[in-house]
């Protein structure tokens, strides 16, 4: 059966508690933020962590799309400069007094670090899925409208498409993603521990890690893209293949063809 006519009116805030899909994601995000707060308080202080939470809340309740990126950026900064101490030093006019050092070294991978990463990941997933449900899930890409047609509706994922499996798979996969992330870190750090590159030509160890990451990421994306591109070529339709070859011919001979058609025009206009 068809959906009811979609509207541009966004869902009400009460739907967060009424509609199961929104309620589930909302509660999961709140729980993740609670864990985040608990873990971050000891690192960057309660006030600054509360600031992050205050930024996160409008994203969950008022469709503020900038909220998750801000939370991520603030978290990054707070891990580097807990409690904005360095920033205060700079503002007070002693830029050299703060070199960016935090004085806090979180040590090697431990459970709290992984839990913090998991909490942020769960919050981000829940927040974006919630935004898809009650803000927008696709770019505005309506078909060309004809005269008299109604305004295009905001593309929003209907809550009825929500399945319990989404939550289950998310909660199952989060530990795997975090484990994968830990493995990635260990590989980078382990590769570097041998100091094969660090120290050579004055390159610092963190920078080597960064270079390795960039190289690995670029290679992975390139390889996957090549595979998909090759598969796309294999599955290309007859028309697409013809267009590709036709374009190639045109690129090779376009100047000559232009001249031919110019003379044709000239002859026609005689």
């Amino acid at each position: 059966m068809n959906d009811p006519e979609p509207t541009r009116t966004p869902p009400a805030i009460t739907d967060l508690f009424r509609v199961p899909a929104m309620r589930n994601y909302f509660l999961i995000a709140v729980a993740a933020l609670f864990i985040y707060y608990t873990l971050m308080v000891e690192r960057s202080g309660s006030l600054t962590t509360l600031l992050v939470i205050l930024i996160a809340v409008p994203g969950l309740t008022a469709r503020w799309v900038v909220s998750p990126p801000l939370v991520l950026l603030l978290t990054t900064y707070l891990l580097f400069d807990p409690g904005f101490e360095g920033l205060f030093v700079m503002i007070q006019g002693y830029p050299r007094a703060w070199s960016g050092s935090t004085g806090w070294y979180y040590g090697q991978l431990d459970f709290t670090n992984m839990l913090l990463a998991a909490a942020i990941l769960v919050y981000v997933i829940a927040q974006y899925r919630l935004l898809s449900l009650f803000h927008k899930s696709m770019p505005d890409d309506p078909p060309p409208r004809r005269k008299g047609q109604p305004e295009p509706t905001t593309p929003r994922r209907p809550a009825r498409l929500f399945t319990e499996g989404e939550l289950g798979s998310m909660l199952l996969l989060v530990p795997l993603w975090i484990a994968g992330a830990a493995l990635g870190w260990e590989m980078l750090a382990g590769y570097e521990r041998g100091e094969r590159l660090g120290g050579v030509w004055g390159i610092t160890r963190p920078f080597v890690r960064f270079m390795l990451f960039v190289w690995f990421l670029a290679m992975t994306v390139m390889l996957i893209s090549v595979v998909f591109r090759y598969l796309a070529l294999l599955r290309m339709s007859r028309r697409e293949a013809r267009l590709l070859l036709q374009d190639e011919f045109w690129l090779e001979t376009r100047r000559e063809q232009e001249r031919i058609h110019r003379w044709r025009r000239w002859f026609r206009n005689l």
């Binding site: 959906d3 580097f80 696709m138 994922r157 980078l188 063809q257």
Partner: protein, 666 residues
């Protein structure tokens, strides 16, 4: 594929990872760990989405069915509602968790009920259905293009749009209601045939007395007219009329000139409505009706018949003829491209994809040497060439002197000074001119890089490649589309017409001449008419539904054909479609009153200044042309009526009654 939300998220995660790695000696692994976790999740989602788009999306299949009432129907009727049901399935083991499907509704229809899109999830076991109701108001052809598909992930990071093409055309036949529902109730008994009208020339088994003649052995006794025989004292036999049904042939003008205008308000729609009304009413009285579709060059004939199948065939042909807009030989390329480009992107996203339909940067370079402005570059280079020649001459003379043993080093300073002093000014001038030439070459070459040429050329190239592929044209056709404006204009109009997209039709060429005035079509009409007359029997009625305006002075061929028909005792009626917007006035008005009335109408419509004058001129000219046409046809004993007069169908039926020979129509 990545949405702006996805790009922003990826950017922030990469920044986070970069900072986490670069500052890892200070902050430890936590920042990198968070970033890696987010990236792993993002990468997994991307991979899953890509796999679904690559393998599952092409497997989305659909079937569209049209229902009228409860029954599936292959044909539609104008003015009646019909339901569209589209069933969509996914023939893949993968699933699409969030997909939007929209059945692209055809042009020329109004949506009455339901929605043409659905947001759903699809798996191999699901069947999604779109149901909505449409109504077509005018006869013609409607075309369903296919289903538009939009796929996104659950977070809104990735998005893909596709279009599953499945062209399906349906003919919308003119409504049947008027034939049965609005039959005439006025009494038309006792109408005598016009004097001298040679109605029937054959005797047959009809009911009306045709003639009396002497008895011949073998005549059936029941045919003896006893009273007359007694009066004349010899046996007289009654002969009855042949009960030949009346045959009506409709000549329908389907040339480009009658297709101009909005789809629901063209002259052709007037003509087809009248034609279908006449055909249905005549066939309901078991009269034969034939159809001749005539355009500028071709004629399509349907011999008169009276079966219901024949009626459907006739209506099909009328609907098909009414389906396409005119193709103008000239047009505004920018306006047409602006219409065709989004349509092509919507329906052929795979063939308009920039990975396949490429736009190389160098195609925007405009080579001045290939243009007629090449002299701007070449002439300023001439002084440099002359200076170079001069310099070379000096140089060669020195070389020659050196070989001949001249001690050139003795006064080398003075010679060099003389040489340089003589050449310096020309060299400087020629260098400046060369610089100017270089500048012109550069500016001209770069001119293609800037809008609006850039945008127009880019879109035109993509459309040219698309057209060449769709037509499976020989190699090089795409280049011709790019360089031959007339060729491209014709094809782009065809493209828009095929997809039932309205476009501006140029009516006049650059010299102000009307483009749809075709004297050749008068000859085609005349040939078609003579062909029908040659094959006609008695009691033929020829109804010519022709757009005769702009041709009032070139109708000799058609008038000759009409006279031939009249000479063979056929009836001819001309119905001329009336240009929408031109007021229909009382014919008893004289010229001054008519002008006054037209001016009053122009003011009431809201025209001002020049608009009023234009309207006045056009309407005056139209009425004058109509008067001339009526006079010309009147001389041949043929009535000319306007298509907008609602009595035109009734008038034709009355004329058929006369031909039938004073039979009463119930």
């Amino acid at each position: 594929m990545l949405t702006s939300r996805g790009w922003w998220f990826l950017f922030i995660v990469l920044v986070q990872i970069s900072l986490g790695l670069i500052l890892s000696d200070r902050v430890g692994p936590v920042l990198a760990l968070i970033g890696f976790g987010l990236l792993a999740w993002f990468g997994t989602e991307w991979l899953l989405f890509r796999v679904r788009v690559q393998f599952a999306l092409p497997q989305v299949k659909f079937r569209r069915r049209l229902f009228s009432g409860k029954r599936e129907t292959p044909i539609l009727w104008a003015g009646q509602d019909f339901e569209v049901r589209v069933e969509i399935v996914l023939n893949s083991r993968l699933s699409l968790s969030y997909i939007t499907l929209q059945d692209r509704p055809p042009s020329g229809c109004d949506r009455v009920d339901g929605v043409d899109d659905i947001v759903t999830s699809l798996s191999a076991t699901d069947v999604a259905a779109i149901e909505y109701t449409l109504r077509c108001l005018v006869p013609g052809e409607i075309r369903f293009e296919g289903v538009r598909i939009q796929v996104a992930d659950l977070q809104g990071f990735f998005y893909q749009r596709s279009f599953r093409r499945q062209k399906a055309s349906y003919l919308v036949l003119p409504p049947l209601a008027d034939a049965e529902g609005n039959r005439r109730t006025t009494k038309s008994h006792n109408i005598l045939p016009p004097p001298g009208l040679h109605r029937l020339r054959q005797t047959g088994g009809g009911g009306e007395l045709h003639d009396l003649r002497d008895y011949r052995p073998g005549d059936p006794p029941k045919m003896i007219a006893w009273k007359t025989s007694a009066r004349r004292d010899r046996l007289i036999i009654k002969e009855f009329e042949s009960d030949v049904p009346v045959r009506c042939t409709l000549f329908v003008d389907v040339s480009s000139s009658v297709r101009i205008g909005p789809p629901r308000d063209t002259m052709l729609s007037q003509i087809t409505t009248i034609s279908s009304g006449i055909a249905q009413a005549a066939l309901s009285d078991r009269d034969h009706v034939g159809l001749v579709l005539v355009d500028e060059k071709q004629t399509e004939m349907l011999a008169p018949a009276r079966t219901s199948r024949h009626l459907i065939d006739l209506l099909h042909r009328l609907a098909r003829a009414n389906g396409s807009p005119p193709i103008s030989p000239v047009g505004d390329i920018a306006a047409l491209v602006k219409l065709a480009n989004p349509l092509a992107h919507e329906i052929y996203p795979d063939l308009m994809n920039r990975r396949i339909n490429r736009i190389p940067f160098r195609m925007f370079w405009e080579p001045i040497l290939d243009s007629r402005h090449a002299w701007l570059v070449l002439i300023p280079l001439l002084p440099l060439a002359l200076a170079f020649g001069w310099f070379a001459t000096y140089f060669l003379s020195y070389i020659t002197d050196f070989r001949e043993g001249t001690d050139w080093s003795r006064d080398v300073g003075g010679e060099a000074y003389a040489l340089m002093g003589g050449l310096l000014v020309p060299l400087l001038i020629s260098a400046a001119l060369a610089l100017f030439s270089l500048l012109v070459w550069l500016v001209f070459g770069m001119s293609g890089q800037f809008p609006p040429w850039y945008t127009l050329r880019m879109r035109r190239k993509r459309l040219a490649s698309l057209f060449a592929v769709l037509d499976e044209s020989p190699l090089g056709t795409d280049a011709r589309y790019l360089d031959d404006d007339a060729f491209f204009v014709k094809r782009i109009q065809l493209f828009l017409a095929e997809h039932h997209r309205r476009y501006p039709v140029a009516l006049f060429d650059e010299h102000g001449r009307y483009l749809f005035r075709s004297e050749a079509k008068v000859e085609t009409w005349a040939r078609a008419h003579l062909h029908s007359v040659a094959r006609g029997r008695d009691n033929e009625l020829f109804v010519l539904l022709f757009d005769l305006f702009e041709l009032e002075n070139n109708l000799d061929g058609l008038l000759r054909a009409v006279r031939v028909a009249r000479a063979r005792h056929h009836q001819v009626v001309v119905i001329s479609p009336w240009l929408p917007g031109i007021p229909v006035l009382d014919e008893k008005l004289d010229a001054a009153e008519r002008t006054k009335e037209i001016r009053r109408i122009a003011v009431s419509v809201g025209f001002r200044g020049v608009e009023t004058q234009l309207f006045l001129q056009t309407a005056e000219r139209y009425h004058r042309a109509f008067t001339t046409l009526r006079r010309e046809f009147g001389r041949s004993g043929v009535m000319l009526v306007r298509a907008q007069e609602h009595e035109s169908v009734r008038m034709i039926l009355n004329r058929m009654d006369r031909l039938r020979g004073v039979r009463a129509r119930r």
